[in-house]
């Protein structure tokens, strides 16, 4: 199941070509926040 995404998160996920299922959500009810995506992107960049 795809988690509910806010407009900004949807945009960011599409922009970085991410799978939302890989991102840990820290918002209400596990919702993925924009800041979660940014952290995910940063960590991934660090790994690479």
């Amino acid at each position: 199941t795809t988690p509910a995404l806010s407009p900004a998160v949807r945009k960011l996920v599409a922009e970085h070509d991410l799978d939302a299922a890989d991102i840990e959500g820290t918002g209400k009810g596990g919702r993925i926040l924009k800041e979660d995506v940014l952290r995910h992107v940063e960590e991934r960049a660090g790994d690479g």
Binding site: P7, A8, V9, K11, R31, L33
Partner: protein, 478 residues
Amino acid sequence: MSKKYDVIVIGAGPAGYVAAIRCAQLGMNTACIDRWVDSEGKGRLGGTCLNVGCIPSKALLESSEQYEHAGHALEQHGVRLKGRQLDLKAMMARKDRVVANLTQGIQGLFRANSVDWLKGEGQLSGQGRVRFTPHEGEAEELEAGHVILAPGSVPVELPSAPYDGTYVVDSSGALEFDKVPGRLGVIGAGVIGLELGSVWRRLGSEVVLLEAQETFLTFCDEQIAGEAQKIFTRQGLDIRLGARVKGSSVDRKKRKVVVEYEDGEGTHEERFDRLIVAVGRRPATDGLVAPEVELTLDERGMLHVDDYCETTLPGVYAVGDAVRGPMLAHKGSEEGIMVAERIAGQATEMHYDTIPNVIYTLPEVAWVGRTEQALRAAATPYNRGVFPFAASGRARAMEDTTGMVKILTHQETDRILGVHVIGPQASELIAQGVIAMEFEASGEDLARTVFAHPTLSEAVHEAALATLGRPIHMGKAR
């Protein structure tokens, strides 16, 4: 044997009656004790908010606004009236009808949910015990699995301006004037003082507000407060800051009240036809708790509670104006719901950070979350987006272009930290900020949402765009 309930609520204001209804919805056998009586001595539900607060003041704000509009604002639309007349009696009667209607509505809700309405005084007499003294009849001891205290608040009395019920009145008295005071003094330029002052100014009073604080609306975002002060002053409210009232006397012969106050320039004297004291409210906890019961109250009579509104006594809760937090109806109601659900075993929590505040002046002022000065003081890096209603097509069409929407976001996470509105329908617009903050939305979330055109809400959209530095309908500030 004494009568036993699952829950007894003391107080039927917004906190108490909502708690009682929610408890009943959750299957608990619930009683709600309330002592309010109307002018005919009949019991009335709804507490301060419905009887002498939110509802009657909004009824008069609306009526007085219509009256003011009929005066000159309509001419801008090409509508000319041949003269207008104020029928204050009819205006007051309408307000009373609105109040009666809504308080009867709660009575209906109690009946529909099988909440027992007990008319009289309630006193916590022990853990799970309440002493009920009816308006008529013998006192009795009631037993309850849980007790919710929702006694509410009363206006603070100022030693330098004691109430006399005619010339010097509290907020309730200010909703009952039988004629428009020629010259009206208001002590306190907070929410209540500004709203009541606005009502009577629109109806023709010359209004002077004496405020002890040096800054206007200190709890508001400073930019919004500055704008509000400018607008209210232009409207004719004479707002005097740093004015500390030293004494007052009623001259019954001349039907005046004389107020003496001090400011940076010395001592002054002012004569008014009526004086409203609106310096604050205090918990109405006198006699609420029997002396032998060990329940912690602070020196102001405030009931001590934890984050979940539980008192120091197990099974006893307290909600609304008599506990910490803002004295707002919706705050009390949500606490009532939280407590009811927690009694029923649910893990309900309340977000105190996202409680909206509204001042129902014209323009209205509304806000949620942090102010710019608070963010600065906490050294939180933030972005600011401001959009003026002057640039809103809808506001132009309405001929109502004062004010702005301001959104503050975190500079790193883009999370919305505060939304501040001064302008038309700010009280409705603020809900968008509240919902956004509840969902932990970012500035970009709002910016990427579709807003109907033309609406006032577009100002929220543009302010969100402005936090990102790219509003469409506004040039860059140079």
